[in-house]
């Protein structure tokens, strides 16, 4: 894909994305949430989020909603990543390094299997 920078190029990108979106309309969207409070940031949340974005870009994953949130009150588990598959309960992961984020994206977001090794237990 050629590198793009003008708004005209962006319009083309939009049209292609729109076609793809119409095909997927019924499947629902997966939500990925990263905690970005002071503690999260100091613990490396920005690099964790970057790893998630890298995976989205590299594996060309459409229809993922990325959100960030403030402090959730679980400082010792930061950086925290939460995944919500369409129609399923929220799953929270703790102390997520960029490498762990890659695995969560691959196994949970793509594969639908919760990565139990990294999961924070209990109600959050």
């Amino acid at each position: 894909m050629p590198s793009v920078k003008s708004l005209d190029d962006l319009k083309k990108i939009r049209e292609e994305a729109l076609k793809k979106q119409q095909l997927k309309e019924t499947s629902g969207k997966t939500e990925v949430i990263v905690g970005m409070g002071t503690v999260g940031i100091a613990a490396g949340a920005r690099e964790t989020l970057k790893a998630i974005l890298d995976t989205i870009e590299k594996d060309n994953l459409s229809d993922i909603i990325l959100r960030q949130t403030g402090n959730v009150g679980l400082d010792s588990f930061e950086p925290i990543v939460q995944v919500i598959l369409p129609g399923e309960e929220k799953v929270s992961y703790g102390r997520v390094s960029p490498e762990m984020a890659h695995r969560i994206m691959k196994e949970h977001v793509l594969g639908g299997e919760i990565v139990k090794d990294y999961q924070i237990k209990g109600n959050i």
Binding site: D9, R14, A17, R46, K50, I56, N71, V72, G73, D75
Partner: protein, 188 residues
């Protein structure tokens, strides 16, 4: 925090929590006057004079999950450690502006760090906020405004892989060009 870019991310998170819908970040590196200036300006709910007076106290925070807030005190300390200054202005229902100045060449000044990742995190993570970023290097300036991009996309997500790539490249090349152009000015 090991980078100024992480402090910027942290302070901008305060603006997001204050329900701002427009946030402007200005980073200015002026080697001629040996100054690095960072301004984060929002139109959020702001603070009253009483809260503002205590905001640099680590034991003041608006959050309910914990009773200490270290973001602002950390940033203030970082500036004061290198002959800089920290100021914060705020008015209820108008917004808050945080300004920090650093002596650019000071040995204790943290590196600016990965400002690109900070911006991408903010822009993609909070699509409802209008982000404006201004980067100045001596006389050169790079201005990034995400509004035209969102208007052009018209409903297509910013996290579409091709869109992400577009935004990342736009910011990277903008900062790089401003730096190159600004460096030449100093040599002249």
């Amino acid at each position: 925090m090991r980078e100024l870019a992480l402090h910027i991310l942290d302070i901008a998170e305060n603006s997001i929590s204050a329900n701002a819908d427009e946030i402007k970040i200005i980073v200015e590196e002026d080697l001629r006057s040996d100054v690095l200036r960072i301004i984060i300006q929002d139109n959020g709910k702001g603070m009253d004079a009483e809260t503002l007076a205590k905001i640099t106290d680590p034991f003041i925070t608006s959050r309910k999950t914990r009773n200490v807030g270290l973001g602002i005190p950390f940033f203030k300390a970082a500036a004061e450690a290198c002959k800089g200054a920290f100021t914060i202005q705020s008015a209820l229902a108008k917004g808050t502006t945080v300004k920090t100045v650093f002596k650019h060449s000071h040995i204790d000044r943290m590196p600016l760090g990965d400002i690109r990742s900070t911006l991408i995190t903010l822009i993609l993570g909070t699509p409802d906020i209008h982000w404006i970023f201004e980067y100045r290097y001596n006389e050169s300036c790079f201005l990034f405004d995400d509004q035209p991009i969102k208007e052009t996309l018209d409903g297509i997500s910013l996290t579409e892989p091709v869109v992400m790539k577009y935004i990342r490249e736009m910011i990277s090349s903008g900062i790089l060009k401003a730096r190159q152009k600004g460096s030449l000015e100093v040599i002249k």
